[in-house]
Symmetry: C2
Subunit: 110 residues, 2 copies
């Protein structure tokens, strides 16, 4: 299910989206998603970090160690070209899916 939180499958999309204007480190990605969604989307760390590794392994993200604003070591991620393309495709797929679900939820008996 998704415990109290997520409808799964959207995390990758949200992560890719968070990087569309430039690099962020993992912890920052989680915070950005949470804030931007008005704390509706929680982004557990146990889901986030594996997702980042997965996406990097697929070649959709590239990473580099650096220093955070708070002066701590942090791994910064940025979209690869493949990642940008994937973000476009997945966004379209999500919109199509969400539209389909909505049409079912709002359907009158056909």
């Amino acid at each position: 299910m998704a415990g109290s939180n997520l409808y799964s499958g959207t995390l990758d999309l949200l992560v890719l989206r968070s990087l569309s204007w430039g690099a962020l480190h993992g912890y920052g990605i989680g915070q950005w998603i949470r804030q931007t969604s008005q704390h509706v989307l929680k982004v557990e760390e146990g889901a986030l970090y594996p997702a980042l590794h997965r996406l990097e392994k697929k070649g959709l993200l590239e990473s580099e160690w650096g220093m955070s604003e708070k002066k701590r070591q942090a791994k910064f991620y940025r979209l690869s070209e493949a990642g940008k393309a994937h973000l476009r495709d997945e966004t379209a797929r999500w919109n199509e899916h969400a539209t389909a679900v909505r049409s079912v939820l709002e359907a009158s008996r056909g």
Copy 2:
């Protein structure tokens, strides 16, 4: 992920919704969702039947054997009172989630 198909977690909601005007049998539920979503949502049988059993076990659905329009044995499902309440709650939850995802996808860098 969801192979080629689903963002998971929505199937229960779609099933409950399909029963909101009255009983349907399992096979019909799958067809109704597929048609109503313009064939965007596929509903594999290997996901559908376990979902029905799960929902019945939770007390959200009640079932009864009968005859289909095509004159074959079929198990008809209908919403229990708990199921109706769950449908309302989950619909609200889905709307909240979809809104949150959309707000992230459309956000300008905050």
